[in-house]
Symmetry: C2
Subunit: 212 residues, 2 copies
DNA sequence: GTTGATAAGTAAGTGTCGCTAACATATGTA
DNA sequence: TACATATGTTAGCGACACTTACTTATCAAC
């Protein structure tokens, strides 16, 4: 990561920062034309360079996608952490806020969201993805552990956090797939998360104090 | 649907049944080379026809994918119904069996599974997808309603069925993304489904009888 | 049966894309 | 200033999506 940053700062020779601009262009194309509806050629055009220039920064097309996805996962994690930070540590609201950030990411960038979960399986060196994914999951685990006042690495916390994540992940996907339309009137996402969260995690243990 | 079937039976002029063979070839390619790792050219080669032949059966590449996805959704629904039918109607096992069929579909055909949920959003005439999706959801609703001994169109049944679906959907995705690895020892899918199902739906109401 | 409409295939061509090779130029450093 | 390297270009290859024009098989009507 540090290497990349250093390199990016250094390599603003000719163009400015082609690498970052390409990632941005691809992100936009993925969002507007679907996960596989982008081309290196089009991204190059938008960045104002020849169609061969990207290959000085990326080995091939999958590697660009990989960079875009890793970037997206990083932003997703940040969003979740910022969401949790808005509420007292250990509160149910903090848990819900993590889920809400997840859902909002999916809704605001459905193309990228789909890409993240459409790509990570099909890739060979999935270690990077798994690493980032684990850190994302860690946010959920952290909020869950604080709420339950239990160690984060305990089995029950991991289990419950996973259930929460599954639910939120599924809900996010079904929402952007519009499979949720015309089913029935439902509470908005926030109260939804709060009630399901409480249902899955149970009441907060008594001795626990909310730390701000 | 009937039109297509008639047409397919009628149009076995030269080749046999190119349309079905193309769908099968694409399905295989999607599974082995990823959702976007297939080409009409390759599918044509496998079917032993020229690369222009498919265009007598499908308008363009997305339409082939659409057919493949609709076919997959149909099979998914069948699997779920068959799963539920193995247990007494109204039992928690029947509910879990629907979920298990869903998970098993995702695990056994991850490429297709990803395609189904990667495509349905990006498509223009999503009505067909929504229709099929609704029928799939109907299976979950049916099992849930029977378990709770409540009408299927009631709000609470729809709500709880949706929560169940979200959870199973999320779990399926995270499973094939291998994001579940090395988290903690966990029960297998079946007992997992049973415990989560009971947690979400609660105990079965007393008056309800299991009908076989 | 012959005929004619049509369904189902082929061959060839166009434009785009992914990617490579060979070459040109800007940059930081010795 | 000279050199290594990073970053860009043009040109070109092979593959692919899709079209057009042409061929051939099938069925229905006479």
């Amino acid at each position: 990561m540090e290497e990349v940053a250093t390199r990016m700062a250094k390599t603003a020779y000719h163009h400015g920062d082609l690498r970052a601009q390409l990632i941005a262009a691809v992100r936009e194309l993925v969002e507007t034309h679907g996960p596989d509806g982008f081309s290196i050629a089009e991204a190059s055009r938008r960045a104002g360079v020849s169609s061969a220039a990207p290959y000085k920064h990326f080995k091939d097309k999958p590697e660009i996608l990989r960079a875009v996805v890793l970037d997206a996962m990083e932003r997703l994690r940040q969003n979740m952490e910022e969401g949790a930070a808005q509420y007292p540590r250990g509160s149910l609201e903090a848990v819900s806020a993590v889920g809400l950030a997840y859902i909002e990411f999916a809704v605001s960038e459905p193309g990228l969201f789909r890409l993240v979960f459409g790509l990570s399986g099909a890739n060979d060196d999935a270690t990077e993805f798994l690493e980032k994914g684990k850190r994302c999951f860690g946010v959920v685990v952290g909020a869950t552990a604080a709420y339950l006042d239990r160690p984060a690495d305990s089995d029950d916390v991991q289990e419950l956090a996973y259930i929460l994540w599954s639910f939120v992940h599924g809900h996010s996907f079904l929402t952007i797939d519009q499979k949720r339309k015309n089913l029935s009137p439902r509470p908005d996402d926030w109260s939804y998360l709060m009630s399901v969260g409480k249902g899955i995690l149970g009441e907060r243990p008594e001795g626990a104090e909310e730390l701000d």
